[in-house]
């Protein structure tokens, strides 16, 4: 039996009004990869914040025993001194600084009054090599893709002499190739004796990489599964997370009635707004019928979001050419407003950045895309607006005390529902949903799927962009597969399997790793 490196005993942490952690126990052995899984808001991140000293000693009860001694961390510096380094979900790198500068930010090499840049870059290169990154440490962060940025974060952690590495959703913004590379790097580091804790929503990755899996639910640890002895299939983990077995992850639709072709895109070509010679959509043709759910599957950087946004009133890209037909008529949509008026809606993948006004209430967000629906053009009918917001909160079962609640205070799943409500209220004929279930928990996902099905049933055309294969296959009537700016396959859901979809992608290009990465920045 290996040595126990970290033991967290009966940790309890309360926020005003909420018990975020209730008597949590966690035991991590040296040299293992320990996964923490649980629905959003289950308390995983809170637990890691307690561990890393973001919530200082005294603000919680219980003991942290690390490397044989009881620890009282008052801030991150304390825990880092002990070799506990946390890598947060949102990358904390500064775009206009070099890799080396970022790596040693707050930990500058040389003396206090004079930074030794030669040493900085030499050291940086050393750690970059350890994580398998070949770029020079003098490259600016903004010039490398998110996959590489995540590796830089790990190198940065290594440079702090980490002994226990905590990765909070490390693959949430990576495509599958980069994700796999990262997971393999974790395995390699484990081989070199590193202990790691990974928080992830992606259960297949957890199954792939973890030695032990601890399930957190409603602020308590439910169980710890050992990869060596227990069943760690996705179904088994989900059962622990939600406390019930989800037999059917995707709600079935019955009596599918397909109408006429609602939207048709032909020979759609879009260029990158900054690198104007690069095509982000190359001769793409797709169509969607009324009452149909069309999936677009592709890895990140394949051009899916770019396609959607360029269709939606040219809100992305330059040099857009091609034909767009709505209800058979060719149209030109030059702005999001024109697109909305024409009956299009684009539900962004980036709900915090592009979707919601976090500092505004649910009410205000719900009506933002269709203020005319609650006003006479200039004057807002507040009563009507209230009714509308309330109606959608009830319809989508958004969990909130009132419609006046600020959207920033809601959980990811509920934010997504508000975003959907906003676009549903705009009453479009064609909804383009870009990664509608990203970063939300299993229960909320199911509810979102039901909403999508209801929309289709009501005769709307739904285009669902996703990089989760089971989701695309489970939800769509028809699937387009996109890779490297091109549509590389189209199939009916009935004939789609994970294997033949991946085959479409691999069939076109064998080496999408290098190119694919750069295109994401």
């Amino acid at each position: 039996m290996a040595k126990v490196l970290l033991e967290m005993n009966s940790i309890t942490k309360t926020f005003p009004g909420v018990k975020a952690l209730d008597n949590v126990n966690l035991k991590v052995e040296e040299g293992e990869i320990h996964a923490l899984v649980g629905e959003n808001g289950a308390g995983k991140s809170t637990l890691m914040n307690v561990l890393s000293g973001i919530y200082p000693y005294g603000s919680y009860t219980g003991d942290i025993i690390y490397d044989g001694e009881v620890c009282m961390f008052h801030n991150i510096k304390d825990s880092e001194k002990k070799g506990i380094v946390i890598i947060h979900q949102e990358l904390a790198l500064i775009p206009y600084m070099t890799i080396g500068e970022n790596m040693f930010l707050g930990n500058e090499q040389g003396s206090k009054w004079c930074i030794d840049w030669n040493k900085t870059y030499a050291e940086a290169d050393k750690y970059l090599e350890m994580v398998g990154l070949t770029d020079s440490s003098k490259t600016l962060i903004k010039d490398i893709g998110t996959g590489k940025q995540q590796l830089v974060e790990i190198a940065k952690a290594l440079a702090k002499h980490a002994k226990l590495l905590i990765l909070d959703e490390p693959t949430s913004s990576l495509n599958e190739t980069d994700s796999r590379a990262l997971l393999d790097l974790m395995k390699k580091l484990k081989g070199e004796g590193m202990t790691m804790i990974i928080i992830s929503h992606k259960l297949n990755e957890v199954s792939y990489v973890a030695d032990k899996i601890t399930v957190v639910r409603d602020g308590s640890t439910i169980e710890t599964l050992d990869a060596a002895t227990d069943d760690i299939s996705e179904t088994r983990i989900i059962k622990g997370m939600v406390g019930r077995e989800i037999t059917d992850r995707f709600p079935k639709r019955h009596d599918i009635v397909l109408g006429d072709v609602m939207m048709e895109v032909n020979d759609w070509t879009v260029y990158h707004p900054e690198f104007s010679e690069r095509k982000v959509c190359d001769n793409v043709s797709i169509n969607v019928r009324a009452g149909e759910v069309v999936g677009i599957y592709g890895l990140m950087g394949a051009g899916r979001t770019e396609l959607a946004m360029s269709i939606f009133g040219r809100s992305y890209g330059i040099g857009i050419s091609g034909e767009l037909r709505l209800r058979g008529e060719p149209v030109t949509l030059r702005s999001p407003k024109a697109a909305i008026d024409a009956g299009l809606a684009y539900v962004t993948e980036d709900r915090k950045g592009n979707g919601l006004v976090l500092s505004n209430s649910i009410l205000r967000n719900t009506t933002l895309a269709n203020l005319n629906g609650v006003s006479s053009g200039t004057f807002i009918d507040k009563d009507k607006e209230y009714e509308v917001a309330k109606e959608y909160v009830e319809k989508l079962r958004t969990k909130t005390p009132s419609v006046e609640q600020l959207v920033g205070n809601l959980s990811g799943g509920n934010q997504q529902k508000v975003l959907l409500a906003k676009w549903m209220f705009a009453n479009p004929d064609v909804l383009i949903l870009d990664e509608p279930t990203r970063g939300i928990d299993v229960g909320a996902k199911y509810e979102i799927y039901c909403i999508i099905n209801d929309l289709a049933k009501a005769g709307k055309s739904v285009i669902m962009i996703s990089s989760e294969l089971p989701e695309v296959i489970g939800m769509s009537d028809r699937i387009y597969i996109m890779n490297q700016a091109k549509i590389v396959g189209e199939m009916n859901a009935s004939e789609a399997t994970q294997e033949n979809i991946m085959a479409c992608i691999v069939g076109v290009s064998g080496d999408n790793s290098a190119d694919g990465e750069g295109s994401e920045a």
Binding site: F15, P16, Y96, A339, L358, S359, N360, L368, A369, F379
Partner: protein, 455 residues
């Protein structure tokens, strides 16, 4: 939860409570002089421009913490042009004041359009675009003025916009009563104190009669008092009728006790305020103007699509643009309106000062910005209200005046104002940190991202 509720209450009414404390403190420090009717009156007249400019500034700040540095210079430029127009003789007559007023508003609008164009459509950072305005418009004003003051002699203009001694809403009942008294004594109808004094000196009025008339004229201003009472009654009626309506529709409403207490306090304050003004000369015309402006913009910010868009742009510009809203137009509107309001402020300022001069408006932008931030507007945009501006401007004005009455040297006053600003903002920041608790880190990341995006 009890503690949380108290904290929320404190957060919501913090600056209001602070204002009350400051008022009470100065009352004792100055032996009650700050609350003399004359001082209440001058508090409004002196700070009228802060309310007007603060309103405009709020619009800019809402769009993302953007400020307009040029307003002081715009006040100077528009005011100078207005004063010169009123001073110019054409065909033997001075140009009438309405023309000057129109030109001043128009100039404000043009400046606003100028700024809005650069900021919204060419994407010049607002700080720089308005810094340019601050320098250039001050320079232009000096060129036009040739470095000299231009005084204003038009009585009608000054009465209407808050300069001179009689810039008050006339108290018709009292005046007619006095007039009739004079008529019954002398046969001449007049309520003008100068003319009455003349009659007295001519011996047409006895000592007793003269004293009687003077007493009537110096009594409580009936119009002002009636206005205050009407306002209080209207407020009470509105509150309860609206509440009944909301209950009928099944909305959540505030606890009845809280509503009664709140309404009662506000009504008492209105009547007290009215009484104070009535004991002096009545309602200053400037007060009417700022009340109109504040009411108009409170309406715009809360009940119109333009107002909604201002908040949305400040909260998340990208999301707003993708919601089909022309964010450039929103930005442009904010600066255009700011310009008009600066033009309007210039009218009040030259009327009050009875002149235009090269240094008029210096530092006004800072007063306006401070009023917004003290009133709880976020430096990142997206939050803030007209109510906040009122409290912010009032608090600054009260502190200014209190310290002047207490004979605090001017330079110390500035230091105190600075401290008030940091305390107001600090309190807000601390409260937010506490409220967010676990989300602190996320907020930091967001803030740094914001910084990154701006850089």
């Amino acid at each position: 939860m009890g503690g949380n509720k108290a904290l929320n209450f404190l957060r919501k009414y913090m600056m209001l409570i602070a204002t009350v404390i400051v008022v009470i403190a100065f009352y004792f420090i100055t032996d009650g002089r700050t609350l003399l009717p004359i001082n209440i009156d001058s508090l409004i007249s002196q700070n009228a421009y802060v309310f007007v400019l603060g309103t405009g500034m709020l619009l800019c700040i809402l769009t993302g913490g953007n400020i307009d540095l040029s307003v002081g210079s715009v006040v100077c430029l528009a005011g100078s042009v207005g004063a010169i127009i009123m001073d110019t003789v054409v065909l033997g007559h001075k140009i009438p004041w309405p023309f000057a007023v129109a030109v001043m508003l128009l100039m404000g609008l043009l400046v606003g359009i100028w700024h809005g164009f650069w900021i919204a459509y060419i994407k010049v950072p607002p700080f720089i675009a308005t810094l340019v305005g601050m320098l250039a418009f001050r320079g232009l004003a000096n060129i036009i003025l040739k470095g000299k003051d231009v005084s204003i002699e038009n009585k009608a203009f000054m009465n209407l916009f808050g300069g001179s001694d009689s810039c008050y809403i006339p108290d018709f009942p009292t005046l007619s009563k006095a007039g009739n008294m004079v008529k019954s004594y002398t046969g001449v109808y007049t309520s003008n104190i100068d003319e009455i004094t003349g009659l007295y000196q001519q011996g047409k009025l006895t000592d007793a009669q003269f004293a009687q008339v003077k007493e009537v004229l110096g009594g409580l201003n009936v119009v002002c008092m009636a206005f205050a009472i009407a306002l209080a009654v209207a407020l009470i009626l509105y509150t309860f009728i609206n509440r009944a309506r909301l209950i009928k529709k099944g909305y959540k409403v505030e606890n009845i006790a809280a509503v009664i207490i709140k309404t009662a306090i506000i009504a008492v304050v209105i009547i007290w305020f009215g009484y104070k003004l009535a004991s002096y000369k009545g309602i200053p015309t400037a007060f009417i103007w700022i009340a109109l402006i504040l009411a108009l913009f409170a309406y715009i910010t809360t009940k119109t699509t333009l107002g909604r868009n201002l908040y949305a742009v400040g909260g998340n510009e990208k999301a707003t643009r993708l919601s089909g809203i022309d964010t450039r137009k929103v930005m442009f509107s904010a600066y255009a309106l700011m310009g008009v309001l600066a033009g309007f402020a210039s009218i009040l300022v030259i009327a009050r000062g009875q002149k235009a001069g090269p240094t008029i408006g210096t530092g006004f932008e800072m007063d306006a910005i401070a009023a917004c931030f003290i009133g709880g507007a976020s430096a990142y945009g997206g939050t803030g209200s007209i109510g906040g501006v009122i409290i912010g401007a009032a608090l600054m004005g009260i502190i200014n005046q209190g310290m002047s009455i207490a004979d605090t040297p001017v330079n110390y006053q500035k230091v105190v104002k600075g401290i008030v600003l940091i305390v107001a903002v600090l309190f807000d920041v601390l409260m937010q940190m506490r409220r967010k608790g676990g989300k602190k880190r996320a907020a930091n990341v967001e803030a740094s991202e914001k910084g990154g995006a701006k850089a």
